[in-house]
């Protein structure tokens, strides 16, 4: 067993453990923190796979900005601990069953497709450097890149319009 394989298994255990912790935490703040841990481990996987730019974007955008937004909303709403209502009894077993089916299908794919067993060769030394990704973004993927900026603008305007208090309506109550 070489070092990289050990690193992979340790990180995989941490990632799966963090995902489970997110799922089964009572407190929503703990869930968010577990999810940040999961994102951080996935960022290390990206580094292992020769994608330093994506790894850094993952840490800053996902683990940074998006999760701060989550934590902010959780604390703003005071929704850390929502009491559990009596749930329908059949939902949880059915959900487990469906998830197991999904996992079984993935496992079937892994075991039947022999080309998935190819071992990753050491990449070329300049593979995945940010310069190459930048070139690709601004040449071949220029249109999607610009559309992304419009999408982000639309999301920003939409979020502000949605959350803005209606002055005329709420003015009387305050």
């Amino acid at each position: 067993m070489n070092g990289e394989l050990i690193l992979f298994f340790v990180l995989a255990a941490v990632a799966i453990g963090a995902a489970l912790g997110m799922l089964f935490s009572r407190n929503a703040v703990y869930s968010a923190l577990f999810l940040i841990l999961n994102f951080a481990t996935v960022a290390v996987f990206f580094l292992l796979l020769g994608a330093p730019f994506i790894a850094m974007a993952q840490v800053t955008v996902y683990a940074g900005a998006i999760m701060v937004l989550f934590l902010f909303v959780i604390m703003l709403l005071g929704a850390e601990q929502i009491q559990h209502q009596a749930r329908r009894g059949w939902q949880r077993p059915l959900a487990m069953l469906l998830t197991l089916a999904l996992l079984a299908e993935s496992a079937y794919l892994i075991f039947t497709r022999s080309d998935l067993l190819t071992v990753l060769e050491p990449a070329a030394s300049d593979y995945g450097n940010p310069q190459a990704i930048g070139m690709l973004l601004f040449t071949e993927y220029l249109l999607p890149f610009e559309v992304t900026s419009i999408l982000l603008l639309a999301a920003m305007v939409g979020a502000i319009v949605l959350v803005k208090e209606d002055r005329k309506k709420s003015g009387g109550q305050k």
Partner: protein
């Protein structure tokens, strides 16, 4: 070196856990986080296959997925905030006012 199937397996497990979270949790914020987990599992697979094929396009796709996830979270959390304002709850079982 690591076979790509290991990454496939890890991604499948993370995606399934995300799907499980969407199905069993009642808290809308946690459901949202589970969706992020699923997006992240897909990103991992994108990068793994980009590496296996020696192409960079997969990494560019991940960049776009991250941008779309950011937009989705902004709008989704805004929706959750106004739902909470109106009903003082984000339990999705209580959001049934459209039911006949």
């Amino acid at each position: 070196m690591i076979p790509i199937s290991y990454y496939f397996a890890l991604s499948a497990i993370l995606f399934s856990l995300g799907a499980l979270g969407v199905l069993i949790r009642r808290n809308a914020i946690i459901i949202f986080m589970s969706v992020e987990l699923m997006l992240n599992a897909a990103n991992l697979l994108f990068v793994a296959f980009a590496r296996a094929n020696g192409a960079l396009s997969g990494q560019v796709m991940v960049f776009f997925v991250i941008a779309v996830a950011a937009a989705e979270v902004a709008v989704g959390l805004a929706l959750i905030v106004i739902i909470f304002r109106n009903r003082q709850s984000i339990d999705i079982d209580e959001m049934s006012s459209l039911k006949g």
